[in-house]
């Protein structure tokens, strides 16, 4: 084939279609053709539904040992598919699943996954974040062998569907039950969810800039004055300063309030994916180069221990 193989994830349609949109950009730059593959039978929605112009060929990877995801099953399955198709590029959505098995898969080919890509330029050069979004890195693949890429959520908008026909070929890898060394359980929800940040209109969100659990009341007072829900970045919940259910981000809640006030939050991508849908983002951070300002409508570059109390007082005064 020596083209571009975009691997889709049945349960993660949106980000899969974003990876496909990236695949098409890569095709424009390289002149190569795109095919897709996914685990599942050909009636699976990931094959039936489309995004953009129809892909001429899709590969349905089928095996009873792939019904439950394990890296031990997926690695040999995709290794065999890739050896058969010999693509020049293999593209994945950057999900918890792909990050679990693709590094291992790439190693089988003596290759290294370029993970979490946010941009592409002629070359091709692949762009990804470094140092938690404080810097941007430009990467190049060299040598022979397939180039493995994974695409960050939200970086390449999916295309609207277009009618057309795709030929779906079934691929049956050889996997033995003894290959599967891990026994995963069904997914379950953690803890009880008593706060619904998802429907909150106003959110005051606090990050590690708050320094200590004893300082939480400073932001709590602002939240109360505004009538807002209090939320947090992951380290705050990891430390037990606020309960986990108040965490916003890829492993926490997704919110879309009218106002999201980020206080002492740097703006790592795993946080941003949880709050990008906010109508108005305000950031308070002492570092004027903090990545959170890249997504903020209004910013105050200053010390939160001075700005927040002043803001609380000003809000109270305005509400009188």
């Amino acid at each position: 084939m020596s083209g571009i193989l975009v691997v889709q994830e049945a349960g993660r349609k949106r980000i899969s279609f974003e990876a496909l949109a990236f695949g098409r950009r890569l095709a424009e730059l390289t002149g190569l053709a795109v095919e897709t593959a996914a685990v599942g039978d050909p009636n699976e929605t990931i094959f039936v539904e489309t995004s953009g112009p129809p892909i001429p060929t899709s590969h349905a990877v089928r095996h009873s040992l792939l019904e439950k995801y394990t890296s031990d099953g997926y690695v040999p399955a995709f290794e065999q598919l890739i050896r058969k198709l010999e693509p020049s590029y293999v593209v994945f959505p950057h999900t918890y699943q792909s990050r679990d098995y693709v590094p291992r898969l790439a190693t089988r080919f003596g290759q290294v996954l370029i993970s979490d890509i946010t941009g592409i330029e002629a070359g091709p050069i692949f762009i990804r974040q470094l140092v938690q979004g404080k810097l941007t890195g430009a990467y190049r693949h060299q040598g022979d062998g397939p180039c493995f890429l994974s695409i960050q959520a939200g970086a390449f908008p999916a295309d609207p569907p277009q009618a057309g026909k795709t030929i779906i070929l079934t691929f049956q890898p050889e996997i033995a039950p003894s290959d599967i060394r891990t026994r995963p359980s069904e997914p379950f929800r953690g803890g009880s969810q008593t706060v619904d940040l998802g429907s909150a209109q106003l959110i005051v969100s606090v990050g590690r800039g708050i320094k200590d659990a004893a300082n939480i009341p400073i932001v709590q007072e602002l939240a109360t004055a505004l009538g807002a829900e209090l939320a947090a970045s992951r380290p705050i919940c990891d430390n037990g300063w606020l309960p986990m259910e108040r965490q916003v981000g890829s492993s926490g809640q997704t919110v879309s309030p009218k106002l999201y006030l980020a206080i002492g939050i740097s703006g790592a991508i795993q946080h941003l994916v949880g709050m990008k849908g906010s109508q108005c983002v305000v950031a308070i951070n002492k570092d004027p180069d903090a990545p959170i300002f890249e997504v903020a409508d209004y910013g105050i570059a200053g010390d939160l221990f001075e700005v927040v109390p002043a803001l609380t007082a000003a809000v109270k005064a305005a509400k009188q």
């Binding site: 979490d116 941007t136 430009a138 190049r140 693949h141 891990t182 929800r189 380290p235 004027p288 105050i300």
Partner: protein, 261 residues
């Protein structure tokens, strides 16, 4: 249980990172370094497993001489000994190159468990542990918050781990040892080093190895060609002045433009 924890020294969370003269990496002089956050949780999990089940905790770190301070910190928290892989070309190695170093150093130790952090805060690859597992031919599990040792002798699985999934979901996974686990932050409460611990750390063994001794070359397949400052996509309106002035200006915006007050 013999547990190896791979720890990486990275720029501290409050570090002001600047681009170096080559334009290919960050300026390391004057930079404050710290233990990578998820690695701190990996170390904590290892120490707790040792406290429950006995055994030994060994930390391994590859990097320039400065990583010695982070190794001492881990020893002060309770790791028994360390392996330091001297490597000044960390920046030009790709994930496979670094993983080969770690795998070669780990192999001769024959551990029951290998823990790594989920993701390093500077490169953010999120791959090293998984690659090490492949290089050593071991099963692995990623995004792990807790490890439970199963005692039913004769069963295939020896450990049961709690794995984080997206958006507040979890699953458990049973797997045999030896195995590699990449640890997500937040599963435990981190301990501080005690004065006694700091004192003891000075006497603990730190074995020095080099890439040459490990027989690992470094020809990368993936090259970081350039680093740059991110471009702002959205035009952010910065509110100037002192805290008081900025706060007043923001309240005006919230009232008349965002209309939430």
């Amino acid at each position: 249980m013999k547990i190896i924890v791979a720890i990486k020294q990275v720029p501290g969370p409050d570090a002001q990172v600047r681009i170096d003269a080559t334009g290919k990496w960050i300026e390391e002089s004057d930079l404050q370094f710290a233990l990578n956050e998820s690695d701190a949780y990996a170390l904590e999990e290892a120490l707790q497993l040792k406290e429950k089940h006995g055994g030994e905790v060994i930390v391994v770190s590859a990097g320039p001489e400065r990583v010695g301070t982070t190794i001492r910190e881990a020893l002060a928290k309770g790791a028994d000994r360390a392996i330091q892989i001297a490597c000044d070309d960390l920046g030009t190695r790709d994930a496979l190159g670094v993983s080969r170093l770690l795998a070669a150093a780990i192999k001769t130790e024959n551990p029951d468990l290998i823990l790594t952090g989920l993701q390093s805060e500077d490169l953010g690859l999120g791959q090293t542990g998984v690659i090490v597992a492949e290089l050593l031919g071991l099963p692995h599990a990623t995004l792990i918050l807790h490890v439970e040792v199963l005692d039913g002798a004769g069963t295939q699985a020896q450990i049961k781990v709690k794995r984080e999934l997206e958006e507040g979901w979890f699953q458990t996974i049973e797997l045999p040892t030896p195995a590699v686990l990449t640890i997500q932050s937040g599963g435990n409460k981190l301990r501080y080093a005690t004065l006694m611990g700091i004192k003891r750390a000075k006497t603990k063994e730190v074995r020095q190895l080099t890439a040459a001794e490990l027989g690992v070359d470094s020809a990368p397949v993936v090259l970081l060609e350039q680093v740059s400052m991110p471009q702002r996509k959205k035009s952010t309106q910065m509110l100037p002045g002192n805290a008081q002035e900025a706060a007043t200006a923001l309240v005006e915006k919230l009232k008349f433009e965002v209309r939430v007050l």
